[in-house]
């Protein structure tokens, strides 16, 4: 099913023209209203009028996560505060979160692309949508909420957690659509089994799963255990939140709503654009966003693009499932975690050496984050309770900075492998990336 036939099935030539016009307007707007972009243009000797069509895209400067950090919190805004109606945030590479702002038109745009998204997954006004994405600063909850309401579905804004209650609500209210992270879907399936029931015995038929990478194997496991059609969705707060791309019922790549979010694939090392079909770093330019337009944002996600028409009728470019990261960001229970955040906590803790190892595992189905910290002579105490207090203090500080619980394990000095050059900081035992 298609929500917006006019745009989602637009002939590609027309689409390119529309994208070119919007890109031209964006360059002018960003240059005029965002000092960061004005400086970046000037540094390259670039004038807004140099951007005439889509072909001029490579002339534009990149934007990175650290640009958000350097202009924390709202320095990248293109509108005055009175036009900002909403703020969301995701975790940043260091202690400060990445803050994003929306105008009223942006919230409307977001609702519209989320309406396209849930419609692509087969959701209609007759559905009951159990939205188990977290509500709050995280974009997942409210993004799905607005999109499902726009198509006229009934929304249950249950948010994350309280798994037994989730099962009960699904049974009692007859939910037909489940929105959450893929790992939480598996966890709910196991919770149902523990309660002596099964998600197969509910009316749930479709799951829209995202906010973390997951493999094809995991998709089959979810579909087997729950009986749901498991649809992959992609988004990130810097671009808009969920609603950047989604699979259709054919599950053959995620259609990017590229009339609003212009995709590119670039070589992560050189920044050179790569042709369709080649794997590289996914880059987005927001063509229509008002409050915080973003030019050529380096997502850090590795994938490839495929512009071939899809059996569903959409002409919009499809992106492959995310197959990795260019940086060391890990996604745990839907939350972005950067090793540098953990390093920051350890560096501030007195006497702890910054030798650490992050181990991500999937215990049963929920992600489990463990941080190994080497015990130095300075921090070592003869008493168990002092070392346990240290573990507890580090655990609390990590929770504060990361927003999720991490277990802290004290290990002997030099037990964490040193390597030449870049130290190996993360061992990810989950099977999250396909291929």
């Amino acid at each position: 099913m298609i929500w917006d036939h006019e745009h989602e099935t637009m002939p590609r030539d027309d689409l390119r023209r529309l994208q070119g016009e919007r890109l031209r307007a964006l360059a002018a707007r960003a240059h005029e209203n965002v000092p960061f972009y004005r400086e970046a243009f000037d540094k390259r000797g670039l004038r807004p009028e140099h951007i005439r069509s889509l072909d001029d895209l490579p002339l534009l400067p990149f934007t990175t996560k650290s640009d958000f950090r350097d202009h924390y919190p709202l320095g990248l805004s293109a509108v005055p505060l009175e036009q900002i109606v909403r703020i969301h945030a995701s975790s940043g590479t260091t202690g400060k979160p990445t803050v994003v702002a929306y105008s009223a038109a942006d919230v409307d745009l977001w609702s519209e692309v989320m309406a396209r998204t849930v419609t692509a997954a087969g959701v209609t006004r007759n559905d009951i949508v159990q939205n188990a994405y977290g509500y709050g600063l995280f974009t997942g909850g409210l993004g799905f909420h607005y999109g499902a309401e726009r198509v006229g579905a009934t929304v249950i804004p249950v948010s994350g957690g309280q798994s037994k209650r989730q099962i009960m609500l699904a049974q009692d209210l007859g939910s037909t659509v489940l929105c959450c992270t893929p790992s939480y879907a598996l966890y709910l399936a196991e919770t149902a089994e523990e309660m002596g029931t099964s998600l197969r015995d509910t009316k749930l038929r479709v799951g829209i799963f995202g906010a973390e990478p997951w493999s094809e194997r995991m998709r089959r496991e979810i579909e087997d255990k729950t009986g749901l059609l498991a649809i992959d969705i992609y988004g990130l707060s810097e671009i808009i939140g969920p609603g950047v791309s989604v699979e259709c019922e054919h599950q053959c790549g995620l259609h990017i709503f590229e009339d609003h979010f212009l995709p590119e694939i670039v070589d992560p090392a050189t920044g050179e654009p790569l042709p369709y079909g080649e794997k590289g770093e996914l880059v987005f330019t927001t063509l229509t966003k008002e409050a915080m337009p973003v030019i050529r944002y380096r997502t850090g996600d590795i994938t490839s693009l495929n512009p071939e028409p899809c059996a569903c009728g959409r002409t919009m470019t499809r992106m492959d499932k995310i197959s990795g990261r260019t940086d060391d960001m890990i996604i745990v229970r839907g939350i972005n975690v950067f090793p540098s955040q953990i390093e920051g906590v350890l560096l501030q803790a007195k006497g702890v050496q910054p030798h650490y190892l992050i181990i991500v595992d999937r215990q049963r189905t929920l992600d489990d984050l463990e941080v190994w910290v080497e015990v130095s002579d300075e921090v070592f105490a003869d008493e168990v309770r002092q070392l346990e207090a240290l573990e507890e203090r580090l655990r609390r500080e990590l929770q504060e900075v990361l927003g999720i619980t991490a277990r802290v394990k004290l290990v002997e000095p030099r037990s964490i492998q040193r390597s030449e050059g870049k130290a190996k900081r993360v061992i990810d035992r989950r099977d999250v990336y396909s291929g």
Partner: protein, 129 residues
């Protein structure tokens, strides 16, 4: 009598205690008392040895994390009720808290020996004479 105890941080997995004992053996240091406190993840091995300086040097050379602590070495009659009567009760009356206590591997003559860590070593030494 005060004694120097060496505490060593050990991960709670097979072979870790063995490494410590081998280091001490190679340094030709005799182990006089040993106690291990453990949690799920790690343990602290506490040892009294014949030559604490040589032992500490060897342990640090081996890359283990260690610290020295002043403890009390107390001799007492090897008979029922002695530990309570001669050590714990006097300390309790004096308001000194015992943090941990463990026994020597060898007796001295007909007397038993214990190692004692308290929250106030000076006062404990005074009390126990």
């Amino acid at each position: 009598m005060k004694a120097t105890q060496i505490s060593v941080f050990l991960e709670n997995r097979p072979g870790r205690l063995l490494q410590l004992l081998q280091v001490l053996a190679r340094a030709e240091v005799n182990l006089e008392a040993l106690s291990i406190a453990d949690t799920a993840d790690f343990g602290i091995a506490r040892v009294i040895v014949s030559d604490p300086v040589a032992a500490m040097a060897a342990i640090q050379e081996a890359g283990l994390t260690a610290a020295t602590t002043e403890v009390l070495r107390v001799e007492l009659p090897d008979e029922p009720g002695a530990l309570a009567r001669h050590v714990v009760e006097p300390l309790a009356k004096a308001g000194v808290n015992v943090e941990y206590i463990y026994a020597y591997s060898q007796r001295v003559g007909d007397r038993a020996v214990v190692v004692l860590k308290t929250d106030d070593i000076e006062k404990a030494e005074q009390v126990l004479g």
